[in-house]
């Protein structure tokens, strides 16, 4: 079984400044991995390389594969990248939905990759495809908003719609770029519960970038920590103590240790790592 995500020797500079510096990362299928780091540490940049939105520096021998298929090699995006993207659900911090379209249409964009162009361009979806969209919306709990204009919905509802789009897309991997950073604590918890449910029930691999380490502790067995574009920690989330984080990040550690009331106060579910949560709380 090929790894869900494999990144080797990835480096990226923006205007001569290192954004990512020799990243090596392997994520097996079915894992739920947190990517933490202060703002500007390279989390978004890494995720955007994995889905081929950004190309790596051409002068280093980098390779990114997803489920064994190349996304980019030595800074050149693969020709077949669209087929690879079809298997990746990308959840954005700002949801990235078309605000004027009804919610269901935004969700149905998830199946564009397997609809022939003569139906996708005029927007002719079959009954079965529509039903798939509705059941995805029902799964994330917002089926009654299906025909509402997307911009009229709350951030939490829009983010759940973005997850519904990934469900319709029938993805094997979800890359989530700060999916809860723009949400209120209650919606944030709701969104994390849905993502973690998809991971448990459908075995979808999840790589989620997070701003706060408590969230990583609560949901993810494994955490990868970035600092100034380098991987400074890759291991069990429970081994990430505040003192270790202070050692890794110095003064910037406070930014990721900043407590999030909704996650700290919520009852801890079995199977998670209560001891560490206590230590951090």
């Amino acid at each position: 079984m090929p790894p869900a995500i494999s990144v080797t020797g990835l480096s990226k500079t923006f205007n001569g400044k290192w954004a990512l510096n020799d990243i090596n990362l392997n994520i097996a299928q079915g894992e739920f991995v947190a990517l933490i780091g202060a703002s500007g540490s390279g989390k978004s940049t890494l995720l955007r390389h994995i889905s081929g939105f950004l190309a790596a520096d051409q002068d280093c021998p980098s390779l990114i594969t997803v489920l064994g298929r190349p996304v980019q090699r030595q800074g050149r995006i693969d020709r077949e990248v669209r087929a690879v993207r079809a298997g990746i659900g990308f959840v954005f911090q700002q949801f990235n939905l078309a605000g004027r379209l009804p919610l269901i249409t935004n969700v149905l964009t998830g199946l564009l990759h397997r609809v022939p162009w003569w139906r996708s361009l005029p927007g002719w979806f079959t009954q079965r495809e529509m039903a798939e969209g509705f059941s995805a919306l029902a799964r994330v709990g917002i089926a009654d908003c299906a025909w509402q204009r997307t911009s009229t919905l709350s951030g939490g509802q829009q983010q759940r719609a973005a997850i519904a789009r990934s469900l319709v897309q029938r993805v094997k991997i979800i890359l989530a770029d700060e999916p809860i950073a723009s949400l209120d604590p209650e919606s944030a918890r709701n969104v994390m519960e849905i993502i973690s449910g998809i991971n448990r029930e459908q075995g979808v691999t999840v790589l989620v970038s997070l701003h706060q380490v408590e969230v990583a502790l609560r949901y993810c067995l494994r955490t990868v920590a970035l600092h100034h574009g380098r991987v400074v920690y890759d291991g069990l989330s429970r081994d990430l103590s505040p003192s270790l984080l202070r050692g890794l990040y110095g003064a910037a550690a406070d930014e990721i240790l900043d407590s999030n009331a909704a996650f700290v106060s919520a009852p801890v579910k079995p199977g998670l790592v209560p001891k560490v949560a206590e230590a951090l709380g």
Binding site: R82, G99, R100, L101
Partner: protein, 263 residues
């Protein structure tokens, strides 16, 4: 301290100099153009009597041939409808191909120059050219409006496309969709209200233009207007002008109403 004072004094005197130069440049341009434009403001006063006499000839307007005027006004309206409709259809691809966030410079640079050319040449000129190609009549007017309006609308469409939020487009891209699907589901929903508004605005402008392209023989009320002016029938001219004003105002009101609905 004294250094700071001299510094602000210098900045102030530099600004004064720039103002003086701007005024001098503007006045120089106006006086240079005076002779070329054959400016004779005193004639307005000297020939005031002639003009008063001339304006009196326009009243009362003669609506004796109102049936013909209305029929031709309707032809003008039809020219505007078809000229605008064809222009909208061709402006969608041309506008997208002029947008720097959609295509590479190899495509948008030549496309923009082509649109510049369509826009730079007046409808009247195009009408005269098309009359040679397809003969006298409204169809030449339609073709003239089509070409000129495509030049304008494509530019406006492209400006709307270049101002979009890239994030929804990226959202569609992330699903493995093709470039055309990104446009249909990510770009068009964002620009559609603006596109509709621009199209209606161009339609208003085209009803005005269509009444003028007729003057070179491309059909509609313009042909009638040209004939009555040439025949010194000022009472009829006045009636035709009143009909054009009434019709154009009506169209403006209607399209302003529709535009409000779409936004």
């Amino acid at each position: 301290m004294s250094q700071a004072v001299t510094f602000t004094d210098m900045a102030r005197s530099r600004r004064k100099l720039a103002h003086a130069l701007a005024w001098a440049g503007g006045l120089a341009l106006l006086s240079w153009a005076w002779n070329g434009a054959d400016m004779r403001p005193l004639d307005l006063f000297r020939d005031f009597g002639n003009m008063a006499q001339y304006s009196r000839d326009f009243f009362p307007p003669s609506f004796r041939d109102w049936r013909l005027y209305l029929e031709e006004m309707l032809v003008t309206f039809h020219i505007a409808v078809w000229g605008t409709a064809l222009a909208i259809v061709s402006s969608v691809p041309c506008g997208l191909m002029s947008s720097e966030n959609i295509v590479s410079p190899w495509i948008y640079q030549p496309m923009r120059r082509l649109m510049d050319a369509c826009r730079a040449i007046n409808e009247m000129v195009f009408a005269m050219l098309f009359i040679v190609a397809v003969g006298l009549g409204p169809f030449a007017g339609v073709l003239a409006l089509w070409v000129h309006t495509t030049g304008t609308l494509a530019k406006l469409f492209a400006e709307a496309v270049e101002a979009i939020d890239p994030r929804p487009v990226e959202g569609v891209r992330s699903t493995g969709a093709s470039a055309f699907e990104e446009i249909v589901y990510g770009v068009i929903p964002q620009v559609l209200p603006l596109w509709i508004s621009y199209s209606l605005y161009r339609f208003e402008a085209n009803v005005r233009s269509a009444s003028v392209v007729g003057m070179v023989g491309a059909g509609g009320i313009g042909v009638v207007l040209y004939e009555v002016i040439r025949g010194f029938h000022y009472a009829e001219t006045s009636a035709v002008l009143l009909i054009i004003i009434a019709f154009v105002s009506l169209i403006d009101l209607a399209s302003a109403g529709i535009r409000r609905l779409t936004i």
